[in-house]
Amino acid sequence: MSDTPAFSITTRDLNLWYAKFQALININVDIKHGIITSLIGPSGCGKTTLLRCFNRINERYTYVTTQGEIKLLGKNIYDPDVSLVELRKSVGMVFQRPNPLPISIYENVVFGIRIHNESRQSTRSDLDAAVEKALTEVGLWKDLKDRLNQRATGLQLEQQQKLCIARLLPLKPEIILMDEPCSALDVEGTRAIEELMFELKGRYTIVIVTHNMAQARRASDECIFMLMGEFIEHSPTAELFVNPKNPKTAEYIEGRYG
């Protein structure tokens, strides 16, 4: 295995059950490093479930059983020596509804730093620098720099979602998972988040779940199409939308079902 694996995420024979219901069936995907990959498919096809496997956050429900292998940057995350805390530090997640914590904007951004450095407290100037850097990267610094002590839950939804992305950055994640990050936003907000994704691309591997096929087409480099818990097709976006290999994909993107 080389030092820099070409694939950020690879899964082999991944199966997942919610109690008796099998939500993922033999998923084998290879997600490339440094690009935006979107997971598409109709409701209930398992795309969100798959995304939530990549940081093992599915496991907070005790009735979930997972089988198979997921390799992140060459390391199987189901190995017993994997630390969940470290895994989640390097795999950030953005949720469907913006969920900033009910604390100040400043504290939201440094939350990750604080929880991962419990023993040695970072100095105030380090934290200030981290906040400025993260908020600048998501384009919020100019608007928010004078009200960092306000509650984050009072911001506009678009700003909240950007803040949710910003709070991942100080932890220097390898991968950012996005679960329908724009579904609660209006047109302007959606555009802003997509532009932000383009800016982050390259430094981070981004995996985005989306219901919105137009968004997948606009904003992603590769697409993975899933149906009823099964993997159907993985192609570069341009190819998948123009020239799908699988008839089921063709039917879905034509809107025959969904």
Binding site: R60, R88, N99
Partner: protein
């Protein structure tokens, strides 16, 4: 073609008279239910004040003496003195100790139930805590008098087992189920998205509890603690039986005391109606009213202060 007029013949048949009247009656009834809470509180206050008021102008009574003297000799033949300081201190000590013991336990229990334990254990614990809340206070007093007082005596070597420590323990046991179940509700009400957000950032369960849940639920938790304080201040029967009932400014937690509530319960039946002693006891009731009122108002301000932040 003319549009149907809204004032003239209506478009659909009018509702029958009884339905219209019935609805009005129902509305009136509900309105009365809502207002009755205010009426009852005012009526109680008025009655208690009416019984107590005449003593305020009596020559034997002196408000400073009433509040600041520890000498409570309401039935003395030669020199009647009504000083409730010892009773106020007694109430403060017993309920203070009870809250001090109960708060960490009940918050711990609430956090465990809502965040750490499995679904089956959770059900069992919730039922048991509800049972604990349903034990009548006289039974608690009985336990305080016969069981814990002996233990307290053995463990500490105190001359009498019925003292502040004993009363505080019993009262704490009575407060725990209330504080725990309300705190648990407050924690449950914290949106799950906050937990997921913190978890996805790599927080451990413990970090989620003290960095996310406690700040997010602090209003509810404060309300729970204050209900506990209210219970501790107002509880009568158990403290009457468990604290020794001695009018005495305590010098340590192993001294016996008497509380305001226990004093009223024990003496009102003996005091001749309309006598000075009787009226003074009602005045003590007003004092209790005032204490709980101050606690509630403070709580309200604190909660509002937190909200604005």
């Amino acid at each position: 073609m003319a549009l149907p007029s809204l004032t003239g013949k209506s478009l659909r048949p009018a509702r029958p008279l009884w339905a219209v009247c019935g609805e009005k009656m129902l509305e009136l009834l509900i309105r009365f239910c809502g207002v009755s809470a205010i009426i009852f509180v005012l009526a109680i206050f008025f009655f208690v004040f009416k019984e107590a008021a005449p003593v305020l102008w009596s020559k034997n009574f002196n408000l400073t003496q009433f509040l600041c003297s520890p000498e409570w000799y309401p039935t003395s033949v030669s020199n009647v003195r009504y000083g409730v300081l010892a009773l106020i201190v007694g109430t403060a000590c017993v309920s203070g100790l009870a809250v001090f013991l109960a708060v960490p336990f009940s918050l711990g229990a609430a956090v465990f139930i809502s965040e750490f334990c499995g679904p089956k254990l959770k059900e069992v614990l919730k039922i048991v805590i509800e049972l604990l809340a349903a034990i009548p206070s006289v039974v608690w007093g009985f336990i305080g008098l016969t069981v814990t007082s002996k233990i307290v005596q053995q463990m500490t070597g105190a001359p009498v087992g019925v003292n502040i420590l004993n009363g505080g323990i019993i009262l704490a046991l009575m407060c725990v189920p209330i504080i725990a179940s309300i705190s648990e509700d407050a924690l449950k009400a914290v949106p799950d998205t906050y937990r997921e957000a913190a978890l996805a950032l790599g927080a451990t369960r413990w970090q989620i509890v003290y960095r996310v849940l406690l700040p997010a639920a602090k209003n509810g938790l404060l309300a729970a603690v204050l209900l506990g304080v209210g219970r501790a201040v107002g509880e009568t029967m158990a403290v009457l039986m468990a604290t020794g009932h001695a009018v005495n400014i305590p010098h340590g937690i192993l001294d016996s005391v008497r509380t305001l509530t226990a004093n009223i319960a024990a003496e009102l039946g003996e005091a001749p109606a309309q006598s000075e002693h009787y009226r003074i006891l009602f005045l003590t009731g007003i004092l209790l009213f005032f204490i709980t009122f101050v606690i509630n108002v403070t709580a309200d301000f604190v909660v509002r202060g937190i909200r604005q932040k």
